[in-house]
Structures are given as structure tokens and as C-alpha cells.
């Protein structure tokens, strides 16, 4: 099926030019990075822009830069770029682990991490991972740049904090440093490519605090603050795990859909959380499974 909707296409050579185009097109503009969501949505007719603004002509957005303790991922950094990056693998292994289970080779070569959070679907793999890393979304607005905390980014299914006329130019993440452990567990219908039926991200910090987030089991990716409070300062023993698992129903609101029934999601969340917590804590303590090992 061809794309029946007609639109204009521009590939600006600078951010200024991109903002100019957005100003002219108003709410009729759609931003294009990797296109793996946008082109599918154009074909389905769920987005009907008058103008598609391709960011791939804007210089400098494709880089992964480490500066001090902070790592910056430009808006055009793809999942494949993240997998191939020594900086990501060494400093943000949670992103590396997540990127390897997002989509398939041909999707990872094109899809961008920033685009993933701009699409803002509840099952986006980047969501829970960036939530526990407390990433900052760098947004270029007509009047200048603003920094949007990822924890306030997701407003609803496909709804984000990105406002009219704004462009995401990248993500900034403070690396959790040596001695942290992390884990992303993704449940899917097959080992190859699938959207998440459920996702759990855990960050275990050297001070024995934890950050936990879920994907695909609420209208947006969600941070699990009650679980974090319950686990703060504790070793990941059976008692801690039982208490954490007991809070899952308070932190999530899964539904049944074409990818998984409600009952299946409810059954699997405690299993996934337990394994993710154990693996993240063990990785912090230096004896966990290698990053990238499938835990489910």
C-alpha cells in the first residue's frame, strides 16, 4: 500500500533553517529522523503532516560525545550506533543492553533513540532505561535551548513534553560511574524482533540505592518510586525481593492487548522484576551475568 497522503519534504542544512520551516508550517510539520515510526504512521494515515522536516541534513546531531561525567547522544544517533560505541558499552552498558533488543538489525540501523522517545509509544524500549538513568532531553526551541528531564517527558500514549515548534537535538546522561550495575529485561513474543510486551529497567548504584522503571505496562513508561524507596540501602536478598514484587501492582496498570493478555503481563512482571533486580545488583557487586545475556 502506498502512502496516500501528500506532503512536502524539506531537508534543512541547519537548526535555524529547521526552525524557520517549523514556524512556516505550524502544527502541520512532522520531524523526521530515522523514519521507522513516522513512515509507518504516514502509510497508516495516523499522521497527516503538510510538511516533513528531515533532520538528517543538520550537522552535528549524529555524535556520541563523552565530556567529563556526562555523555551526550545526538538526536540522529541510531540504536546501531549505540551498540557499536565503545563509550556506550563501557559507560552506559544499560543503553547497550537495551539497544541490542530493540527491533531488528535493519530497524536498529535506522531508528534513533531520540526518535524512540519522541514517538512516545508506551512500549518504547528507550523509555524505562532513560528514566532510570535520569536522562535530560535537550530541546531546541525557537527562543533558545531548554533541558527537559526525562521523568517529566512522557505525558501519555504518543504524547510527550515536546511542544509546537521545538526540536529534540539530543540526550544528555550523567554516567552512573564505576561500581554501578544495571539491567534491562524485555518480554516479547519471540527472541527476534518484537515490541515489548513488558519491560523492566533497573539501575543499582554503589550507595545501595536503586532506580526502577517499567515499560509497556502503563500509558507511558513509568518510574517505580515506591519500589525504589522500599529497596533503598538494602542488599538484594529474598526478603527485599518479596517486598519489591509486592509493590508491582501499585506501580503499574497493565492492559491486555494484541501482544499479551492482562493476566500474562501481571504474571510476568514479578518474574521480570526479580530477575532484573538480581542481575543489576550482582553486576554492581561484580559477579553478575554479562551485559546482553538474555534473562528471560
Amino acid at each position: 500500500m502506498s502512502i496516500s497522503h501528500e506532503f512536502d519534504y524539506r531537508r534543512p542544512g541547519s537548526l535555524e533553517e529547521a526552525h524557520e520551516l517549523l514556524r512556516e508550517a505550524g502544527d502541520g510539520a512532522a520531524l523526521l529522523a530515522g523514519g521507522t515510526d513516522l513512515v509507518a504512521w504516514l502509510r497508516d494515515g495516523v499522521v497527516l503532516p503538510s510538511l516533513v522536516v528531515d533532520l538528517k541534513g543538520v550537522p552535528g546531531l549524529g555524535e556520541i560525545v563523552e565530556s567529563g561525567g556526562s555523555i551526550s547522544l545526538g538526536a540522529l544517533v541510531t540504536f546501531a550506533d549505540a551498540i557499536d560505541s565503545e563509550v556506550i558499552r563501557g559507560r552506559l552498558p544499560l543503553i547497550w543492553e537495551m539497544a541490542r533488543v530493540m527491533g531488528s538489525t535493519g530497524i536498529r540501523n535506522r531508528a534513533t533513540i531520540s526518535g524512540n522517545i519522541c514517538s512516545g509509544v508506551p512500549s518504547c524500549d528507550s523509555g524505562p532505561v532513560l528514566l532510570v538513568l535520569e536522562a535530560v532531553v535537550r530541546v531546541s526551541a525557537p527562543g533558545g535551548e531548554r533541558e527537559a528531564p526525562i521523568n517529566d517527558w512522557f505525558k501519555g500514549p504518543k504524547k510527550t513534553d515536546l511542544r509546537s515548534g521545538e526540536i529534540v537535538v539530543g540526550l544528555s546522561i550523567d554516567a552512573p560511574g564505576e561500581g554501578h550495575g544495571a539491567c534491562y529485561v524485555k518480554l516479547r513474543r519471540n527472541r527476534g524482533e518484537d515490541l515489548a510486551q513488558a519491560g523492566v529497567a533497573v539501575l543499582a548504584l554503589p550507595d545501595m540505592s536503586y532506580r526502577v522503571a517499567f515499560g509497556a505496562v502503563a500509558p507511558t513508561p513509568v518510574r517505580a518510586r515506591r519500589i525504589e524507596s522500599c529497596l533503598a540501602g538494602r542488599h538484594m536478598d529474598d526478603a527485599a525481593l518479596v517486598e519489591a514484587v509486592g509493590l508491582v501492582t501499585e506501580e503499574t496498570s497493565p492492559i491486555g492487548d494484541i501482544r499479551a493478555s492482562l493476566e500474562y503481563r501481571e504474571h510476568m512482571l514479578p518474574v521480570m522484576l526479580t530477575r532484573a533486580l538480581r542481575a543489576a545488583a550482582a553486576r554492581r557487586d561484580g559477579d553478575g551475568p554479562a551485559y546482553g545475556t538474555s534473562l528471560i
Binding site: M1, S2, I3, S4, H5, E6, F7, D8, Y9, R11, L32, G35, T36, V39, A40, L42, R43, V52, D54, K56, A80, R100, G103, S104, T105, G106, I107, N109, R110, N190, R191, G192, E193
Partner: protein, 159 residues
């Protein structure tokens, strides 16, 4: 709102007038006459429309033709212009394909894998090919063929 774009397809320069809502897949098949990328799911799931764009496999159903302006596309037609590759011969030897609909995508994805990682493990082969769906073979003869090429030293002899 058609505009002229220039594509390098399998080493040949093509100038084509396209509308912004035409996909790379449609332009390759209907204008350039390259038929190996197949129209399958048209939503990026099946992998049958795979082409290599600037050295990386992409879903040509999810790329607008205008995005590819000035870029290089490689398909199976270009890959085997000077005869089939060692990988393709291994697929033949193992009877890897039945209907053949997935074959171009599988060949390109496996070629990309072997170029990047000449000696992949079975797990790595399965991971790389996970986005190329085959409904005939159960994948075993496909994976066997890629592993055979990997064992005899990758794709150096593929020219």
C-alpha cells in the same frame, strides 16, 4: 510536488522524479526496475524489502525515496553482478530457500553481518537474521549456510 533525486543504485547513477510520499522500495521497483526488494508487510516487520543503504541494511518500505537523494543503494542484483557470492553459493548448496521471497533480504542481512563480523556464532547469526521472516524453511538451512561461510573464513572470497 515531484522533485528530481539522484540515487546510486548498484553502482549506476539514476536521476528520478519522485513525490515526497513515494518510498525507496516503490521507486526501486517501479522506476529503477530493481525487483529483488519485495513488498511484504510494508511496516518494517518482515525484512523482505531490505536493501543496503550507505553500507547498512535498511527497510526500504520505511525510507522515503527523497531521503535517499544523493545516497548509494546496493541490492542483490548489485551484490552478484560479477557472479554469485560465496554466501549465495552456500545458500544454494544447503537448499536454504524454498519460495525465495525472503531470500534477497536474508542474503543482504547475512552479507552485512559477515562483513562486520566474519566469524559469528550461531547465536549471533540468529540475532542478525531475526528481522528477516521466512515462512518456508524453519530457518535451519539458512543459518547452516551462514555458519558454513563463517567457518571457512567469512566473505573475503566474495569479491
Amino acid at each position: 510536488m515531484k522533485r528530481e533525486i539522484t540515487l546510486n543504485v548498484n553502482g549506476e547513477e539514476w536521476t528520478v522524479a519522485v513525490a515526497p510520499n513515494e518510498t525507496l522500495l516503490e521507486v526501486l521497483r517501479d522506476r529503477v526496475g530493481i525487483k529483488s526488494p519485495k513488498i511484504g508487510c510494508e511496516r518494517g516487520d518482515c525484512g523482505s524489502c531490505t536493501v543496503i543503504l550507505d553500507g547498512k541494511t535498511v527497510r526500504s518500505c520505511l525510507v522515503l525515496a527523497v531521503e535517499a537523494d544523493g545516497h548509494g543503494v546496493l541490492t542483490v542484483e548489485g551484490l552478484s553482478r560479477d557472479g554469485i557470492t560465496g554466501l549465495q553459493q552456500a545458500f544454494l548448496d544447503k537448499n536454504s530457500f524454498q519460495c525465495g521471497f525472503c531470500a534477497p533480504g536474508v542474503i543482504l542481512t547475512a552479507s552485512e553481518l559477515l562483513a562486520k563480523n566474519p566469524h559469528p556464532s550461531e547465536h549471533e547469526v540468529k540475532e542478525a537474521l531475526a528481522g528477516n521472516l521466512c515462512r518456508c524453511t524453519g530457518y535451519t538451512p539458512i543459518i547452516d549456510a551462514v555458519l558454513e561461510v563463517a567457518e571457512r573464513g567469512g566473505v573475503e572470497d566474495d569479491g
